[in-house]
């Protein structure tokens, strides 16, 4: 008999250390010399509260976190899809997954399905699942799959997740512990419920100081740092590090420091979204566990199922269509679900997107997270994951004092610039691989002047070798090369001379394809439909182990 083993890596060790008596002392009042102990987050919403939770939980007892939220500005509430990273984020913050399902209207997300992106054919679709191809770090299966591309699509050949999504099955069982999965997963959630859920936990469990007031003035130190912000109801709030989570207003980094905004609408044209919430036809309708993204004439429509409703939205390029036409496409999309009458009358909310990001993300003693840092169409649900990644970077490399802050800021800026560049390239990849020529939108998207140079080089390279590990430059890329494979082969692109096909691995590849088929069959037997599992979780809860 051996001791306990548990596949999911828990941050319990970290928590044991953090809860140690020696650290269990919150530092308050004015700090010694130039120590950094007071973090002031300006703005609530998903960005503010995730950042507060991540920093407070990682630095409990060492750093005091204050969050100032305006009573007058409501969060924009975009970002209803997460990456699998959200599981470790929620676990780090210390909330229970059961509570999260009960309170945030949450459901499972196992990836995205893209429909009609390559052609107008009704059968044109492919998955970008959250699970990487089998034995991805040992073998590149793509060249071995190519001869069979007419028989089976890439995702279904190398990974069971697309088939499981098509069957409407959940990625885990009621016996799987909290945050553990049979298949990799993230969530769909109600952003309007998520922020209050985090708010409550941050204030009650993580000692986050909450101030409900409007920031009216920003007060500087001699060195140009922000010393404090003045609020209309609660006086001055002094801090050592300020985090700008004020959304599109970008009050600190944008307005106060005047950090330039770099527009990327020359690459990604979509600048407007129309969003609508539609009910299920009955409370027993299954919930899709993937984001469905269906290409339109000048944009695409997202379709996200949470427990109580579906969130549907059309994001499009206003230069390529009219708002009336875009609205009509959206209403036609929802008509089969809600009927003609309701489809024509449902209230639609308009969101403007100025695609792009700040030139830098941390200046002096102020970092920006969330929409204050940048905004891009939600094609690969990058909003929340960028918040998590940014806040974790600050929490993990938290500057001990003002002198080291600039070094950390420099790293933060370099990493975030890289991530933004790769996100934009990766989103653009979805457009440049299209074979659609039905509208100027698709034709313009393929014009070389709209394609970043690095992506052009990759596309040239992939004519001869498939995207794989050599394409990853950072230790942790937001989109691993496996994601590039799913999009590249999902959109029916093939390589002329498969450079990384190692024929000595043919046998292993064939076995992996066969095993994948068996895995799909086994999983189909044991997994249950999404809604059934979510109802069970709400009723019985998930165990912690």
């Amino acid at each position: 008999m051996t001791a306990a083993s548990f596949t999911l890596k828990c941050p319990f060790d970290l928590f044991d250390i953090l809860f140690d008596k020696n650290y269990n002392k919150v530092v308050r009042g004015s700090p010694m010399s130039d120590q950094v102990t007071r973090v002031v987050i300006v703005g609530g919403g998903s960005a503010g509260w995730l950042t507060a939770g991540i920093i407070a939980a990682s630095r409990l007892g060492q750093v005091q976190v204050t969050l100032i939220e305006s009573p007058d500005i409501s969060p924009i509430g975009v970002g209803e899809g997460t990456w699998p990273t959200m599981r470790s984020t929620l676990q780090l913050i210390g909330v229970s997954e059961t509570d999260f399902f009960r309170e945030c209207d949450a459901s499972f997300k196992q990836g995205s399905k893209f429909s009609r992106w390559t052609s107008l054919s009704a059968e044109d679709d492919y998955y970008h699942p959250f699970t990487v191809p089998a034995k991805y770090h040992e073998i590149d299966l793509a060249p071995f799959w190519l001869p069979f591309k007419e028989k089976i699509n890439f995702a279904n050949a190398v990974c069971p997740q697309g088939a499981i999504c098509d069957l409407g099955l959940a990625p885990k069982l009621i016996t799987t512990p909290e945050y553990g999965g049979v298949l990799n997963y993230g969530y769909h959630l109600d952003a309007g419920k998520f922020a209050p859920f985090l708010h409550k936990h941050c204030v009650e469990k993580l000692d986050v100081n909450y101030i409900r007031a409007n920031v009216t003035q920003i007060n500087s130190r001699d060195n140009g740092d922000i010393q404090s912000v003045t609020t209309d109801l609660q006086g001055d709030v002094t801090g050592d590090l300020f985090i700008d989570c004020t959304g599109l207003g970008s009050l600190l980094l944008g307005k106060h420091y005047g950090i330039a905004f770099i527009a990327r609408n020359n690459i990604l044209f979509n600048d407007t979204a129309l969003a609508v919430q539609i009910p299920y036809s009955s409370t027993t309708d299954n919930i899709a566990s993937h984001t469905l993204s269906t290409a339109q004439t000048a944009g695409w429509i997202w379709d996200i199922g949470i427990q109580s409703r579906r969130g549907v939205g059309h994001v499009f390029s206003s230069a390529h269509t009219t708002i009336e036409r875009a609205e009509q496409e959206l209403r036609s999309y929802i008509q089969p679900a809600v009927g003609e009458k309701m489809a024509e009358s449902m209230a639609i909310r308009k969101i403007s997107i100025n695609p792009g990001h700040r030139e830098i993300f941390w200046y002096k003693n102020c970092a920006a997270i969330g929409l204050a840092a940048g905004f891009i169409e939600p094609l690969e649900a990058t909003a929340l994951v960028l918040i998590e990644l940014s806040a974790k970077m600050i929490a993990d490399q938290f500057p001990a004092n003002r002198s080291t802050m600039d070094i950390v800021a420099k790293r933060f800026n370099s990493a975030l610039s890289h991530h933004w560049q790769r996100i934009i390239e990766f989103l653009k990849l979805h457009y440049v691989l299209t074979k659609r020529t039905d509208t100027d939108y698709w034709i313009d998207n393929c014009r070389s002047e709209s394609i970043p140079e690095n992506l052009q080089e990759l596309l040239e390279l992939w004519k001869f070798q498939s995207p794989w590990l050599h394409d990853e430059t950072l230790r942790i890329e937001m989109f691993p090369s496996a994601s590039y494979q799913y999009i590249y082969y999902g959109m029916s692109h093939t390589i002329d001379a498969p450079g990384n096909k190692n024929n000595s691995k043919l046998h292993q590849a064939e076995n992996l394809f066969m095993e994948n088929g068996k895995t799909i069959q086994q999983l189909a037997k044991v997994l249950q439909p999404n809604r059934e599992l979510i109802e069970k979780i709400k009723e019985h809860g998930l165990q912690k182990i």
Binding site: M1, T2, A3, A4, S5, F6, L173, I174, T175, K536, E539, H540, G541, L542, Q543, K544, I545
Partner: protein, 246 residues
């Protein structure tokens, strides 16, 4: 699929139940649910672990009977070779059902009724022990079944209290049984949980006193002591392998 119907002395007046245990009666499971107040009897022969109920993910204590799916090492064509048969096995083919109160009924307590699985191969009209006396009264056997079902009913509630407290003190941990037989065959048993002894030993006086005053402390130690029975299970396998050897 079991087919449970409410037991009554009219429809079931000739009902008989075979009380022997054989693989053909579906008794060849690798584990059987047990109850905290039964641990004293169980721990003498079977290892006790927790498993999760596949329906709701809740922990339930089980007596381990075998080391592979559908393997009960106590069971053979000669019957069940043990001093004590777990109550959850012994109750077969009966179980207790809770009937909701009907409106207008005097007492507000839901009625506890005895159900019988009419599809059980144990149930027939020719062999085994009679359930009812000729004039319709309870046989001594049925009396004992009712007592057993009450015992199980209480045990189910006790288990819930026991597990709630274990979860409260975070005393459960995952356990993987790695078994290597003399012939080199290896077998890994997953999906079991037990008491984390390190955490148990680190409990402060108040926690121990709480467990003791609730009458639950003894169950923890009986469970831990029962683990040495894994060796007995392995010995049974080794014996079977030897007997089957040419």
């Amino acid at each position: 699929m079991p087919n449970f119907v409410l037991l009554n002395n009219v429809a079931h007046k000739n009902l008989r139940v075979i009380r022997d245990y054989y693989p053909r009666y579906g008794d060849n499971e690798m584990s059987a649910i047990t109850f905290a107040h039964e641990f004293r009897a169980i721990q003498n022969e079977y290892p006790i672990f927790f498993q999760k109920n596949p329906e709701n993910g809740k922990f339930i204590p089980v007596a381990l009977l075998g080391l592979r799916q559908n393997e009960n090492l106590f069971l053979s064509e000669r019957g069940w070779d043990a001093q004590y048969i777990p109550a959850s096995i012994k109750r077969r083919p009966f179980l207790i059902g809770i009937q909701a109160t009907k409106p207008g009924q005097d007492n507000n307590q839901p009625g506890r009724m005895v159900y019988v699985d009419m599809d059980s191969p144990r149930v027939n009209e020719t062999q085994g022990d009679a359930v009812f006396l000729p004039h319709g009264g309870y046989s001594a056997y049925l009396d004992s079944v009712v007592e057993l079902l009450k015992y199980i009913q209480y045990g189910t509630e006790l288990n819930e209290r026991f597990i709630d407290v274990l979860l409260h003190y975070e005393l459960l941990e995952v356990v993987t049984l790695e078994i290597t037989l003399k012939n080199g065959n290896r077998n890994n048993l997953a999906g079991f949980y037990t008491i984390n002894e390190e955490k148990l030993n680190a409990l402060d006086g108040n926690a121990v006193s709480d467990l003791h005053s609730k009458g639950l402390l003894q169950f923890i130690y009986m469970m831990l002591a029962s683990h040495s029975n894994v060796v007995k299970l392995i010995a049974r396998i080794e014996t079977r392998i030897q007997q089957n050897a040419p």
